[in-house]
């Protein structure tokens, strides 16, 4: 009995210690619901949010699901967050519908809702009667366009030859916009470069490698590959090198992942259009503070992107480089 009593006492003591250690929140607190922290992109976003909060002198109450697929757990986290009555709810929904019940409650409580990294589908959101203060994210059409601009500059605007586009998962808006932006811009800035194939690589490195391999069989004179994310670009690069065409085919990705940057430094991947989640986090907090102060913020806020090449990385002078994590 004594041992058992001791154990209960220990639990109680621990709990009280916990209580004492709980952060006392004074001043405005913004609630932030992320997808997951077990991913470099979201980790960089979280760090940006922390930095933004420091600059804006507000408190952040931040939670994430364990994986970027655990939609129901994320809804639970969001509901619990509202119990704390934050001044604003900044959320990266795992899909376009899972957080809508929570966002609706936030609307009812008069808490402004921010769509962080543009995960919502405006039509679905409107049908559910949920109001969003603003959406912040990268402009994916512009990111594709930047890749085309870089290619024209890299090969010359008079360059001729076949180009391969590796799309994302079929039906995914992000991938579609990037591919679309790339093709439209390429037709304008380098009409001699013709897209001979545009195939879905499902965000998967080995699928992209197979697509690159097959296209190289059919078009041995391929001059460039644009992949809608770095994972696929890295898969495609391996096929290019395996076919003995390393350095002869320009390969461009999107995202600016750590692995992508490593590959550029190693002289394999030519370039990537880097998203800047750290900057996005800072910007989101700044804009939330603005709307709470009664200022107006555009309904869609676009965060800049940065074309990373071996040269840009070596020079190290671009001001946005500090946001590449």
């Amino acid at each position: 009995m004594r041992r058992e009593g001791l154990t209960y006492a220990a639990i109680l003591l621990l709990s009280v210690g916990f209580a004492a250690a709980a952060p006392a929140a004074d001043g405005p607190t913004y609630g932030v619901v992320l997808k997951t922290l077990a991913n470099p992109f979201w980790d960089a976003m979280a760090k940006g949010i922390t930095e933004g909060a420091k600059e804006a002198q507000v408190n952040i109450f931040e939670q994430a699901a364990n994986s970027d697929q655990d939609a129901e757990t994320q809804l639970n986290i969001c509901n619990t967050m509202l119990e704390r009555n934050p001044q604003a709810l900044i959320a990266s929904a795992i899909n376009s519908s899972n957080l809508l019940p929570c966002m609706k409650t936030a609307n009812e409580k008069g808490i402004p809702v921010v769509d962080l990294d543009a995960n919502l589908d405006p039509a679905v959101t409107q049908r559910a009667g949920v109001k969003i203060a603003f959406t912040i994210g990268s402009d994916n059409i512009a990111a594709g366009g930047k890749a085309a601009d870089f290619l024209a500059q890299h090969l010359g605007s008079n360059a001729q030859g076949p180009v391969l586009v590796i799309e994302g998962l079929a039906g995914n808006v992000t991938g579609e916009e990037r591919a679309q932006g790339f093709k439209a811009e390429l037709a304008k800035v380098a009409p001699g470069l013709k897209v001979v194939a545009s195939l879905p690589g499902d965000w998967d490195a080995s699928k992209a490698a197979n697509i690159a391999n097959d296209t190289l069989q059919r078009n041995p004179d391929l001059v460039a590959i644009f992949a809608c994310n770095d994972t696929m670009a890295l898969g495609a690069v391996e096929s290019v090198f395996a076919a003995g065409k390393g350095g002869k085919v320009t390969v461009i990705g999107v995202d600016g992942t750590t692995d992508g940057v490593k590959s550029i430094k190693a002289g394999r991947l030519t370039a990537t259009v880097a998203q800047l989640p750290y900057l996005e986090g800072i910007e989101a907090i700044k804009d939330v503070k603005a709307i709470l102060a009664g200022q107006s913020v555009p309904a869609v806020v676009h965060v800049p992107t940065l074309v990373l090449t071996a040269q840009v990385l070596a020079q190290g002078t671009n001001p946005y480089l500090k946001y590449v994590k």
Binding site: L12, L14, T80, E83, L100
Partner: protein, 326 residues
């Protein structure tokens, strides 16, 4: 154990409250509530209590199924995947096939029950250990959900189905009502009906159960089917909550369901089980998660906390039982 002592033990085990729920679990739950009330000013409120019930509902419903299977010394590792499969089939029935919503609900429930039936038949007729059969089903049901949907969530359910997950009659979230309703029914079945008592007898000693004339195989099939059915129901509620049938929904929930049952005092090796205990076990996890969320503790630490509480609760139980014997 011989038959005479079996017959002697059963009624006391079922009728004494001390044995029906593990008091340690209740104490742990109350201590947690006390500590979190002190730690966070947002914890102790009606709306947060409803929020906890809502968040715990899906795991809880799975936990009640696990309680029956474990009572009979079985194990079901497939309920998380069946949850995903059930949600997806119901969503596809109303979306891809344009069937009316009551059919969608039936499809989810029957898909779950069917997976459970297959588990039961393979375990009893093919004599493959339940651990292996349900581990296989964990893969098959998850894979089937991914194949059917091409890996993508199926968005948009009809209003009445969404209401199951998002409705709030009299301000009470409907999943919480379903959760407590299922608790009441399964508690009655486990503690007051022959079906439940036989499950416990089988879990205590399968050969003895057979010797007393219980149709053990048929009973086990029914238990696995019940577990699958409840997983289908959980899948329906889960899909309705997020308004989409997600093929990855419920990943890892099978372990949470088993944890809820064990935290509530159900013996992993059968013979002792309590639905009220599982309810308390699920609430321990729900309260802990909610409290840690309110305190802004990272989700990484939350998993550690739940693991630690599980071991702690069972350890307290061991201390108690050791004392009883001494």
């Amino acid at each position: 154990m011989n038959l005479a002592s079996l017959a002697m033990r059963r009624p006391t085990a079922l009728h004494s409250l001390g044995n029906m729920i593990r008091l340690e679990s209740l104490v742990v739950l109350l201590l947690l509530i006390l500590a979190l009330s002190l730690a966070s000013p947002y914890f102790l409120s009606v709306s947060n209590a409803l929020n906890i019930l809502l968040a715990t509902s899906v795991i809880g419903i799975l936990g009640f199924g696990a309680t029956f299977v474990i009572a009979a010394a079985g194990i079901d590792l497939s309920v998380g995947s069946i949850l995903g499969f059930g949600g997806v089939t119901g969503a596809l029935a109303v979306n891809a096939l344009n069937l009316p919503w009551p059919i969608g609900i039936m499809v989810s429930l029957l898909a779950g029950a069917f997976c459970g039936l297959v588990n039961g038949l393979l375990t009893t007729r093919a004599r493959v250990p339940a651990f292996i059969v349900t581990l296989g089903m964990l893969g098959v049901a998850r894979g089937a959900a991914l194949v059917l949907t091409n890996g993508q969530p199926v968005y948009g359910l009809p209003g009445p189905m969404v209401w199951l997950g998002q409705g709030r009659p009299f301000g009470v979230p409907l999943p919480a009502v379903i959760f407590l309703g299922v608790a009441a029914i399964t508690h009655f079945v486990l503690s007051r009906t022959r079906f439940g008592k036989y499950a416990l007898v089988i879990g205590d000693n399968q050969n003895a159960a057979r010797a007393t004339g219980i149709h053990v195989e048929r009973h086990l099939v029914a238990l696995y089917t019940l577990s699958g059915f409840l997983a289908g129901l959980a899948g329906l509620v889960s899909a309705a909550r997020v308004n989409s049938g997600d093929p990855t929904a419920g990943t890892g929930y099978e372990l949470a369901a088993i944890t809820a049952a064990i935290l509530g005092g159900t013996n992993l090796f059968g013979g002792r089980a309590s639905v009220v205990g599982t309810l308390i076990g699920a609430l321990i996890m729900g309260v802990l998660q909610n409290g840690l969320n309110l305190l802004a503790v990272s989700s990484f630490y939350q998993q550690m906390a739940i693991g630690a509480v599980l071991v702690l609760a069972v350890w307290l139980d061991q201390l108690n039982r050791g004392r009883g014997r001494a």
